[in-house]
Every structure is written in C-alpha cells, then in structure tokens.
C-alpha cells in the first residue's frame, strides 16, 4: 500500500475587529465577498488545499474574534499554529497600532518554539479611496522590517486584490514552519494487492 503524506498547515488570522479577517478568509477560500459578515464570535475555520512548491498541503485557516475581550480563548485556538497573519485596515490607524499587541499576545499564548515564528502582515481595504488612507505603505513596511522582516501585503478582500498572493506566502512560510507530520494515508487505488503488501503497518 502506498503511503501519502499529508501536511496540515494551521494559520491564525488576528487583528482588530472589522479589519476584514473573515472577509479575507472567505475571499481566499470561497472566492466570495460580503460586506455583511457578522462579527465573529469565538472562532471558526475553513480549510483549503493548496499547492506549495509542487506539494499539496491543506491550510486550516482560523478566523478569530477581533475584540480583545475574547483573547482569553486564544490559547485554545492558537495551539499548533504554523503561521500567524496580522491584519489591519489601511484606513484605520488604530487597527495598525494594535498590531504589535496582537503579535505579542500571540507569542505569549501560542508560545511557539521557533523564535523566528512566521508572521505575515496584511493591510486590507485598499479598495477605499486614497484620501481615506491612514497608514502609508512605507510606514507599514518599516514596522514589518523592524519586526524581523515580516512579509507585508496590501489587499482588498472586497475586490480580491492580492489575496491569493498573500495566502501563497502564508502557506509557504507556514510549510517551512511545519514539522513534518508523518501520516499514513491510504492509497486510494490498489494496483496490485499481491505485490504491495504492507509489512510495516500494525493496524
């Protein structure tokens, strides 16, 4: 029996409420946008299969509540994360300013072993008129650089700008993080059961 290795990448999306975490996730996974996603209570996730460098991996993307009140739940949701996405709204200065605390909070609660745990920063809602913009690309990139060169993307979940690219990088960085999970996956097609006896498996 052939063995297939599946890789599950757990990705956590964090950021202030209303910056578009749910929208980004849905745009990426379902190619859908609605400006009426209800405020996320608790947490939820979607999964998506992606090819990263010719590897098929499954991303489990966790969408969390944006209000800091619910951060105490985080510890249950963050565990085993392979990448953390910090999202802010480029038209909302406060949502940018809180990135630091979201990042710190994540590091405390998830306590990843790797000191260089991968983060990706997304500045969302770039579809809004330029005059509304509060955080320049330059400023955001400077912050990302200061935090150890965090990859930075500017996206519009509404107009599907850069979302795919951002998540490709997220997947890629998460994959590097992922310690290989060795899982036997059944070969769906048995070519010749006589020749492919599995001696190693005790089950």
């Amino acid at each position: 029996m052939a063995s297939r290795k599946k890789v599950l990448l757990k990705v956590i999306i964090l950021g202030e409420s209303g910056v578009g975490k749910t929208s980004l996730m849905n745009q990426y996974v379902n190619k859908k946008f609605s400006n009426q996603y209800k405020a996320t209570i608790g947490a939820d996730f979607l999964t998506k299969e992606v090819l990263v460098d010719d590897r098929l991996v499954t991303m489990q993307i966790w969408d969390t509540a944006g209000q800091e009140r619910f951060q105490s739940l985080g510890v249950a949701f963050y565990r085993g994360a392979d990448c953390c996405v910090l999202v802010y709204d480029v038209n909302n200065a406060k949502s940018f300013e809180t990135l630091e605390s979201w990042r710190d909070e994540f590091l405390i609660q998830a306590s990843p072993r790797d000191p260089n745990f991968p983060f990706v920063v997304i500045g969302n809602k770039i579809d809004m008129e330029e005059s509304k913009r509060m955080i320049s690309q330059k400023r955001a990139m400077a912050w990302c650089q200061s935090k150890g060169n965090i990859p930075y993307f500017e996206t519009s979940a509404k107009e599907a700008i850069n979302v795919e690219q951002a998540f490709q990088t997220i997947a890629k960085n998460a994959l590097q993080q992922e310690v290989e999970v060795e899982i036997d996956f059944p070969d769906p097609i048995k070519i010749d059961s006589d020749t492919s006896k599995d001696f190693g498996c005790a089950c």
């Binding site: 890789v7 209800k38 608790g42 996730f45 999964t47 590897r55 209000q67 739940l73």
Partner: protein, 890 residues
C-alpha cells in the same frame, strides 16, 4: 537469517511480478488528459490516460502525469495516441505504481493512477458542452471510491490525434468517447437509462435493472452517441475480419438506428464475461454467439445477464437491494460492493424524496462507507481526507450544480469540511430520523400516560443505560443509577403559545395581574408568547413593568422611562466634548462596525434609506433603525457607567442627572442573572463599554419593542440577565462553561469522557451559544421563542445551559462516533447553526432539567441512607454549582 531469506523471497516475488508486467500492450492512450489537483487550479495536471493489457491478460487503466513519464516512453504514448487503431499495440514500460518512498508531500507521481478495469464499477461521462468545453470522465470503483475526473483537453494535441483518420469535415473524436469505445471492446458496458451519462461496467443484473439499462439508453448528447452494450471478445481484438451476424446487425439497426461509426467497429460479439471470469465462462462466451455490429439483441442481453448473474450478483444479493431508493448504496457510485457484510435496511425517509436528493444521499452513504474503512487513521490525515483530490470528485461538479437547484438537496449537501465533520453531519441527518421516531413514541407516552412504561428505554435510550453501567465516571455513584428507566416517565410540558385572549384574561379591570406571576412565567415557559402580545408581555419579563402594576401605573412608567432615556441620551448626544473624546469615538466606531453587520437580512434592519454617516463601510448604507441601534448602544454605555460600583466610567458625567438606573437594575434583575448562587449581592460592574455580541442581543428586543425608548429599556433588562458574559474578566462565561461541564459530567459521563479525550473540555464550541443566547444558532423567529422561554426563569434562571445540554445530547452519538478533536467538534457545532429544531430542543431541555433533579434527589437519598447506616456518606455530593441550577427564582 530467517529475516534475510524472507526478504529475499519477497524480492523474488517482486521480480516475478515485474517480469509478468514486462511487456504490456498499450491499447489506448490519450495525452493532455488533465486531473485537477486542487479545486481552484484551472486546468490541473496534464497526463496520459491509457488502457494497457498486461501480459497476463489483465486490462489496466492508468493515468500518468506528464511529469512522470520517462523520456523514453513518451514517444510511444504519443505515438499510439495518434494512431487511434486498436490493432496497433505498442510495448511500453510497465505502468508505474504509486510508491511509498519518503516524500515529504504530494508530488506529481502521487496522482498516478492504475487500476484493473475489473475494479471499475461505473463511469460518468460528460461530453464537452458550452460551459465545459473539455468534457470529463469520472471513474467510480467497486467499493465506492472514485478516481479524479479526467478532463480531455483537445487543444495542444498532436494534429494527428485531432484529425485522426476521420473523414474530412468530421468533428474530432472526443477523448472520452474514444476511451469508452475502446473499453467496451474489453469489458461489458451498459448505459444507464435513468442517469444520462452513467455507464455501468460489468454490471450485475440488479444494477442493470436499477438503471433501466434494458431499454435503449438515452443518447449522451446530439454529438456523442450512447455507448451500447457492445462487447468484443478479447481474443478477437486483433482480428481484422470478424464474422458478422447480419441478423443481429439488422435488429440492432432497427433498435438503435443512430449508432455512430466509431462505435460500430466490426467485432465478434460475446457474452461479456467479467474480465476476471473463469475460464469456463470465457470459453462459453466464445462459442455462444456470432458477431454483431452495434449493440447486441435483447436476447443476447438476457443471455449475458444470466451469465453475470451467476457471478457478481451473488455478492450483492441483500434484502435492501431491490430499489434505488433503498439507501443500500449508490448505483452511480458503486457502493454496493461492501454491502454483503452489512446489509442496510431501507431508511423510511428515503422512500418518498425526489430522486435527485436520493442520489445525493446515496452518494453520501458511499462517502460514509469509505470513511468507515479509514476510521482508524490518525486525526490529521482524516481531517483532510475530504480535500483529497479523489474525494473531491465524489460528487461530480455537474451533480453539484444540479443539486444547487434543489432546495431539499442543498440542505444535505453543505460544504466540504474536514472528513469527520462532514461525515458527522451526514450521520446526523440519518440519526435525526430515528430520533424523530423516538420522539413520536415519547409524545404518545406523554399524551397517554396510562400506557407509559410499555415503550420505555428503547433505541438510543437503551444504549444510554449501558453507558451508565459501564462507565467509571468521576461521580462514581451516579453511574449506577438506571437513569433512563427511572426517567422514562419524565415528559416535557410544552404546549401552545400564550394567546392574547389568555393574556388579557390574566388581568382584572384595573389592568392588574390577577393570576400569580409564577403562573404567567410557567405559561410562557411552556409555550412562549403569541407574537401580537410579545411587545407587551416582554415588558414585564424585562423589568420595564412591575408585575403588580396597574394599567394606569404603566402609562406613567412609559412616560417616565421615555424621560429617563432621553436624559441619558442627551448626555452624549448634546455634549460636543463627550462626542469628541477619544473613548467615545472609539466606542462609536466599534458600535458602528457591528451594527452595520447585525441582522441585515431582517427586513426591519435591511433597508438602505440613509447614507452611512460613518462612511467607513463602502457600499453599506444605513437606515433609521440601524441608527437607533447605535444610539441605544451608546446610551447603554452611559447607563452602565452609572450603575452601582461602576469601575470604569466611560464618560465623565454628572451622576446626579441620571435617572434611576439603580432602581431599574433592581427592578429588572429579579435575581435572574447568571450567578451561581441566587444571592443578589451587588457585584462590581465590570462592564466597560460595548462588547461584540451586544448588538446581537439588542436587535431582537428592539425589533419587538419597535421604538427607541422601549427598545433601550428592554435591552437593559436583557443585559441584566446576560451582562456578566461581557465582563472584562469573562467571569460570566467562565461560570457558565464550568456549570455546563458539570452538567455533562453528571448527565452524560460517556460524552464527557469523549470530550476529555478530544481535549475539548474547555467547551469553547459552546461559547457563542452561551454568550449571546443562541442568537447565531436559530432563525430570527425562533430566537424570540427561545428567548422568552429563557426570560421566564420558570425552572431555573439558567435554562440556557439545559438548552445547550439538549443540543449536545441530540448530537452526542455523532460527536462520539465521528469527531475526535477539538477543531472537529468546534467546526461541527459551529455548523449546526440554523439547523437546530427549537421545539424539540426545548422539550429535551426541560426533560434534562427534570433528569438532573432526579439525580440530585437520588444522590441525596442515598447519602442520607449511608449516613444512617454507617455514619458517613460515601457517595459524593452533588456539586453545589449543579444544585444551584435547580433553584427556582422564588
């Protein structure tokens, strides 16, 4: 060494095997056949689809990614694909088998496919159409698995293939058609008359009947003709001059006049033995008939059937297998092969639903079967099994599309989640039926109490008894209680909603309640409230009207409340300094963000008649009611900041100007907050502004009240019951989850253990339920029904915990059988949203309450007995936290 010799022996076997496969013949090959590796990539991975005859006369279908073809062989693959003649055989390298080298992840070769034709159950053939210009073929295997869909791309094919040897002007042959034509020379293929595009391979008698395959199959499409049972004897493939049976040919032409040239290759007809048929049947078939062009005659069909009947049908004979709707497996998906061991009895609900839904259901059965085979896999593998490219194809896109048109089917379809969650959902829909039957029986018992006891403890209940017997739970002694038997006499008391007539009959001529408050509470608990009088009744339950007020007093209250409200509102509305403050701005932004996405599908909040003053939500307008929601929430901040012991006043305001929030709080709380004890000690107000979820709580009460002032005060009343959930330290949520934990522990120790094993005892999957009283789980109208039952505080002030317990109880089997991790349970529970039957849940919740009462009684009695006998009680005490649940308001 023994081991060495064993290995050597195995190596020999391998060598022998590879020798056998050394010189396979390539019968058919088609390049540019794409397999989608992920749902979103447009084309997928190109490869070669080929039919190969091994040297031991086995036919193999294989698909090899272009990337995996050794350079040497590529030419021959292409070569034959450009020939198109069946008599050309090429010798190629043996088909590669997927191997188990230590690859880190998926590699193109992981997609390689090689299967004996005899393992194919059916094929779904979708010729190119306007919307799907490539066309595809899906292969379903015996056992229910499916191969990924093969998409036949015509562009980029060598011109020889495109044009082939077809007459000038003839349309290019579609690869799927060619595949089918070649295959039917090797195996028996019949088209289904029921499902266009479905072709059964070596079908059994029963399958053929199910598919109406005895009548002429319908054409695939105007372009591609049906592939009819046209089989050629293997030994004759290479014969250029087969015998022709003119009689049969005439017959077939009469029956199927439109048969296409490509299919009617001259051939020797034989009685379709399975490829793996024994030598006897082979030789019989070789002598049984002459030859025919086109399909065999009806007589031939019958004769062939009798042959195949003797073979495969034996396996499939089962009580359930006599109609498509029996749920015994899918004729399309080939789920029957596993049925011999466990014949399923027909499911009653499947007999009267439309065929499409049925097909979907059956398909899911096959998914279930498949997953039951892989149930032993570790969690992470199974979590994603559904995303596997092969699984993706279980429901072909075309079927999915058709299903989208069917509302009933949509409900069972849902999205593809992780395997277990998906599986669990499916199991739940089936379990629901059994549940319904038990429920009906229970209802009979309830309505005819004299007969009660006759039907107790059956089905699920019977199982639960055992749970308690064999579980060594943390509450040891509770487990010996034969809960089910003892509690079978417990019934719910649900009844009709409180009607306006009943309601008015409760009041005297002064408009003063003449029945007891408890009476009203019980009535509302049991049946809810007719919507016409909700607006009035809720004002009592939410602390706006005192229960002993007269009509005249209530008139005064209304105007006082209006004054109070506007006084509170003015504090921020008329004060520029407050409005400019950072705190206020921050709160306003928070509130606006949520209000604009709260219940916008409800007509009361749907319209966009006003521009969005915030301007922050592109494309989202506002309306008067949304603006009022914002005002109420902002005013509530003011009110909350004035409440006793407020620790973090949001706005620096003069307290003396406030109306009497303290009084209002006392009036409305009635000891009905979520505290574990009923002692109404004032606790520090930990509310510090708007918290997500509050807009969810406000919307229904505002909509029922219909105006700003009453909406506000009703919200205040509701918040008195729920505000602890929103405290900074989350103490309300913590204590609720803790209580629920104990509740599960006592009422369902086995489920508790399972949750423990899943590391799900934080019960965070119930967080949303409890934070906002199931607001996201039920439809709008049900929310009002549920909430008034919760308002009533009839049995307990924390009935929401029994509601939660009831939902978990309903799904406990599915959770225990199928879900094995916190994330799976969370996903499953989140996705229950909008699928929960409220009435049943309320019935169950009431029974669970009574059941807890019973347990507490039993334990108390037992402890008393022990104490009397030995001086000390050994049975552990019921946790106080649970005992407190049973305290009614009084």
């Amino acid at each position: 060494m023994e081991d060495d010799s064993f290995v050597a022996q195995m190596e020999d076997i391998h060598l022998d095997q590879s020798a056998l496969f050394a010189q396979p013949k390539l019968l058919f090959s088609r390049p540019k056949v794409f397999v989608k590796t992920t749902p979103d990539n447009k084309d997928g991975m190109p490869g070669f689809l080929s039919l190969i005859e091994t040297s031991n006369y086995e036919y193999i279908m294989s698909w090899t990614p272009e990337a995996c073809i050794p350079g040497l062989d590529e030419d021959s693959y292409i070569d034959i694909s450009s020939q198109g003649d069946n008599d050309v055989t090429r010798f190629v390298a043996p088909p590669r088998s997927p191997n188990s080298t230590n690859r880190r992840s998926f590699h193109p070769s992981d997609y390689e496919v090689s299967i004996p034709l005899q393992n194919i159950y059916s094929m779904l053939v979708y010729p190119p159409r306007m919307r799907d210009r490539h066309g595809s073929v899906i292969i379903n295997l015996i056992g229910g698995e499916s191969l990924p869909a093969f998409f036949f791309h015509e562009d980029g094919l060598p011109s020889a293939v495109k044009k082939g040897k077809l007459p000038a002007g003839a349309p290019p042959t579609w690869g799927g058609q060619e595949l089918l034509s070649t295959m039917e020379q090797l195996v028996d293929i019949v088209g289904s008359a029921i499902e266009p595009g479905v072709y059964l391979v070596n079908a059994s008698h029963a399958d053929k009947i199910n598919h109406g395959a005895e009548s002429p199959p319908r054409p695939l499409s105007p372009k591609v003709q049906p592939v009819l049972p046209l089989s050629q004897q293997r030994q004759h493939i290479e014969l250029d001059h087969p015998l022709r049976d003119t009689e049969a040919e005439d017959e077939s032409e009469r029956l199927y006049p439109k048969l296409e040239e490509t299919i009617s290759e001259p051939s020797v007809l034989y009685l379709s033995p399975d490829v793996n048929a024994d030598a006897e049947s082979l030789s019989r078939s070789a002598t049984a008939t002459g030859s025919a062009t086109g399909p065999i005659t009806m007589e031939g069909m019958r004769r062939r059937r009798s042959l195949s009947d003797s073979g495969r049908d034996k396996v499939k004979d089962g009580p359930a297998y006599h109609q498509t709707a029996s749920g015994s497996g899918s004729p399309m998906m080939g789920g029957l092969a596993n049925d011999s061991s466990q014949p399923r009895t027909p499911l009653p609900f499947e007999t009267h639903i439309d065929p499409l839904v049925n097909t979907v259901k059956e398909m899911r059965w096959n998914i279930l079967e498949r997953f039951s085979q892989v149930a032993r896999f570790s969690r992470d593998a199974a979590t994603n099994i559904l995303d596997h490219p092969i699984t993706k194809q279980i429901l072909p896109p075309h079927v999915q599309q058709r299903i989208q048109d069917s509302e009933a089917a949509k409900r069972v379809m849902d999205d593809y989640d992780s395997a277990r969650v998906y599986l669990a959902k499916w199991a739940a829909t089936v379990a629901d039926q059994g549940d319904r039957e038990r429920r009906e029986q229970r209802e009979m018992d309830r309505l005819h109490p004299n007969q009660h006891g006759k039907h107790k403890a059956h089905g699920q209940d019977g199982r639960r008894i055992n749970d308690h017997e064999d579980e060594e739970g943390p509450l040891g002694a509770f487990n010996v209680l034969d809960l089910e038997t003892e509690c079978s006499a417990i019934h719910h008391t649900r009844t009709e909603p409180l009607s306006p007539m009943d309601w008015f009959s409760f009041f005297n001529e002064m408009g003063c309640l003449k029945v007891s408050e408890a009476h009203v509470r019980e009535a509302v608990f049991r049946g809810g409230i007719d919507h016409d009088i909700r607006i009035e009744v809720w004002k009592f339950f939410l602390g706006i009207y005192p229960w002993d007020s007269t009509e005249a007093e209530r008139v005064v209250i209304r105007s006082t409340k209006a004054e109070e409200y506007y006084a509170l509102k003015r504090e921020w509305f008329d004060d520029a300094a407050v409005q400019e403050s950072e705190t206020f701005q921050e709160q306003k932004l928070r509130i606006e963000k949520d209000v604009h996405r709260t219940d916008r599908t409800i007509s009361f909040f749907a319209s966009e008649t006003l521009p969005n003053p915030a301007g922050d939500f592109t494309g989202v307008g506002s309306n008067e009611n949304l603006e009022l929601l914002k005002d109420i929430l902002l005013t509530y901040n003011v009110w909350a900041s004035k409440a006793p012991s407020a620790t973090s006043p949001l706005l620096s305001m003069d307290k003396k100007s406030a109306a009497s929030p303290v009084a209002a709080a006392e009036e409305s709380s009635n000891g009905s907050d979520n505290s574990n004890t009923n002692v109404t000690t004032p606790e520090p107000n930990m509310l510090d502004g708007y918290v997500q979820g509050m807009s969810d709580l406000l919307a229904p009460v505002f909509a029922v009240m219909g105006d700003e002032v009453m909406g506000f005060w009703a919200f205040v009343g509701l918040m008195e019951k729920t505000k602890r959930n929103f405290y900074r330290d989350q103490v309300g949520m913590q204590s609720q989850l803790e209580t629920l934990d104990k509740l599960i522990q006592v009422l369902d120790p086995k489920l508790y253990k399972h949750l423990e094993k899943c590391e799900a005892l934080n019960l965070f999957f119930c967080f949303r339920w409890l934070l906002i009283w199931f607001k996201r789980e039920f439809e709008w109208v049900d929310i009002m029904k549920l909430w008034e039952v919760l308002f009533s505080d009839h049995l307990t002030t924390q009935f929401q915990l029994f509601v939660a317990m009831a939902v978990l109880d309903k799904h406990r089997d599915v959770i225990m059988d199928h879900l094995q991790g916190f994330d799976e349970i969370l996903k499953y529970v989140n996705d229950l949203s909008m699928t929960i039957n409220l009435e049943e849940t309320l019935q169950d919740a009431e029974i669970l309450y009574r059941r807890l009462e019973h347990v507490v009684d039993k334990v108390d009695t037992k402890r008393a007995e022990e104490e009397q006998a030995t001086g000390t009680a050994t049975t552990p005490e019921v946790p106080t936290i649970l005992r407190n649940l049973l305290k009614t308001r009084s």
